[in-house]
């Protein structure tokens, strides 16, 4: 059972990474939001798999949380924030090839440094698969970070933040069952943050250098 779960977890995790690359390469906001939705659902799937393989109800509840809070509500609030009149709401000057390459360099350096220095020196054991599976959440985290850093649109930055949170959830999923009360509060926090951000989005949708805020 556990080995099947491991085999399933790997392809799903890699699709999670691919969804992150997909989001990184989008100019338009709506496909990014959809990408986030798919990513969250994939993480929910991982949660269910881990739950069944470990016979732990916590993971199942967590999966349901992810589907409702990440999948449904966060997507709903983000979609609501997209200006309805501008169907083609997008960010200019997105050089996909450049972004993908820089993203890769960033990930490879960051993850490999962390993985080869930190994870090789400590004894850490993941629930399913082998320890190598922890590379996926780490990579996802740095992809989220890079998404925030590389974009000027408020939306893209929120989505990058949600992606980081997804990475945390995935990291915790692979490692151990976190107390459900804490996970639930974390989800509520992220949801509240998205709501707050969508208020800011309405006021200001892109971010450039501001003279007064330098130095």
């Amino acid at each position: 059972m556990s080995s099947i779960a491991g085999t399933l977890a790997y392809p799903i995790s890699s699709f999670i990474l691919i969804s992150a690359f997909y989001m990184q390469g989008q100019e338009f906001i709506r496909p990014m939001i959809r990408g986030q939705l798919i990513q969250s659902l994939l993480i929910a799937a991982v949660s269910f798999i881990v739950g069944f393989s470990e016979n732990n109800i916590d993971f199942i509840i967590l999966g349901i949380f992810i589907v409702f809070l990440r999948g449904a509500l966060v997507t709903y609030f983000l979609e609501k924030g997209v200006p309805s009149k501008k169907v083609y709401f997008y960010e200019k000057k997105v050089d996909v090839a450049y972004l993908l390459l820089v993203d890769l360099i960033f990930i490879v350096i960051a993850v490999f440094l962390i993985y080869s220095i930190v994870f090789s020196s400590i004894s850490i054991k993941s629930l399913i698969g082998n320890n190598g599976i922890l590379v996926f959440p780490l990579t996802l985290f740095f992809q989220g970070l890079f998404l925030i850093a590389s974009r000027r649109t408020t939306f893209a930055q929120i989505i990058g933040y949600v992606e980081e949170e997804n990475a945390l959830v995935l990291f915790a999923l692979f490692l151990l069952p976190i107390p459900i009360i804490i996970e639930a509060s974390v989800f509520m926090d992220v949801l509240a943050l998205v709501v707050i951000s969508s208020i800011v989005v309405i006021e200001k949708s892109t971010h450039e250098r501001v003279e007064e805020l330098i130095g």
Binding site: I124, G160, Y161, E164, L168, L175, I182, A192, V200, V210
Partner: protein, 449 residues
Amino acid sequence: MSPGLFLVILTLFVPVVAFLFYFAGLKAANIAGGVINTSIAVLLYFFRPPVGLFFVDFTTWVFIMMVTAISLLSSFYATRYFKGSKMGIKEETFYLLMALFTTSMLFSLVINNYGLMWVGIEATTISSALLLITDKTETSLEATWRYLVIVSAGVTFAFFSIILIYYSLGTLEVSSVLAITAGTKSTPILKIAVAIALIGFGTKVGVFPVHTWLPDAHSEAPSPVSAMFSGVLLPTALYVLYRIFEIDPLRSLYVWFGVISVVAASIFLGYQTRYKRMFAYSTMENMNLALIGFASGGIAGITGALLLLISHSFGKAGAFYSSGNVLKATGKKGIEDINGLWNSMPMTSGSMLLSSLAVTGTPPFGTFFGEFLILYNLLTLHYYIQFVIVLFFLMTAFISVNLNVSKMIFRGESDYSEPDRVMPLISMVSSVMPIVIGIIFLVMTIEMV
């Protein structure tokens, strides 16, 4: 139910209940709630809750005291500050968020669980973000956004450290984690967790490479909110960081990060042209000094850090209230645009001078004794290089801040007038507090000796 437990639960609910009364039409309810909460905090010194759901020791008590007192001052100040000015959010929303902000800070302080502490810190970000856009200018929106994105991204990173702590110890209760780790040898995983927390929670404390949101948020927020940020929000994050640091003291790492941040803050202080931004960098400097104090440990270090934090929170609140007065009266943000406050706004200029002396650690303010103890502690630990660096940059910071403030006060003449009678009074009270704290400390020390 023990009285301590009751008091802690009460202190968490008082701000929200006070807001409900305010919403029902009782305008003074906010201030009354602040007064009640501060008295509860004082009572907490005598009645501690049993360790269980909450974990309150002397260190926590000092922080609770700070939060309640500064919240009281800020909500009092806000009633005057917003009078007659156009607000970006509704006044009720502002007070609701202030109440939630206070509650979430108190929650992060008292809760006996690292995971929920993290949740509390994240909740402070959420509740305080919209307070920044009270003015609703283009720059304040940008600052709000930077604050949201940078801080939440950083604090997210800190959750890795929570996961690792839970992974290696199997519990997140602060009291039991500290009990487990007190005697045992540290493991590499815990070391990594503590190091990650420095960057993660350090984002909110204002540790050097991840401090960038700090000056923007402080300078664009309305003054009562700036005072809350500087006086209590950052210390709250520092408290959480300190609790994680206690698990496995990585002393050298933390001290060095603190030293580098003090250096960076002092250098940034040197070329600021806006007074609120200048005070923001001064906050960064003080926070990192307190971080050094906590990290160097020992009675001297921790006492010094607590003394520094509590006097600084009053002093810096005073500085931001004075800045608020000046901004309200002149409408100008630049240091060079403001001359001769001395003859037109005597009360405000007095409080501003006092508070700027307080936050730069002049004797007999409490901050001086705090800094003295921290530096002394560095020497006893044989951290000579760090000692010299910090001492030098503290002096440069002292010169930069006080030079700029005295320029604003004593250079030339002006014809402004005090915006209000109460506002300068509040800023004066807040600025005098560090002296009171310093004197109390001196008296207590002499008696003990």
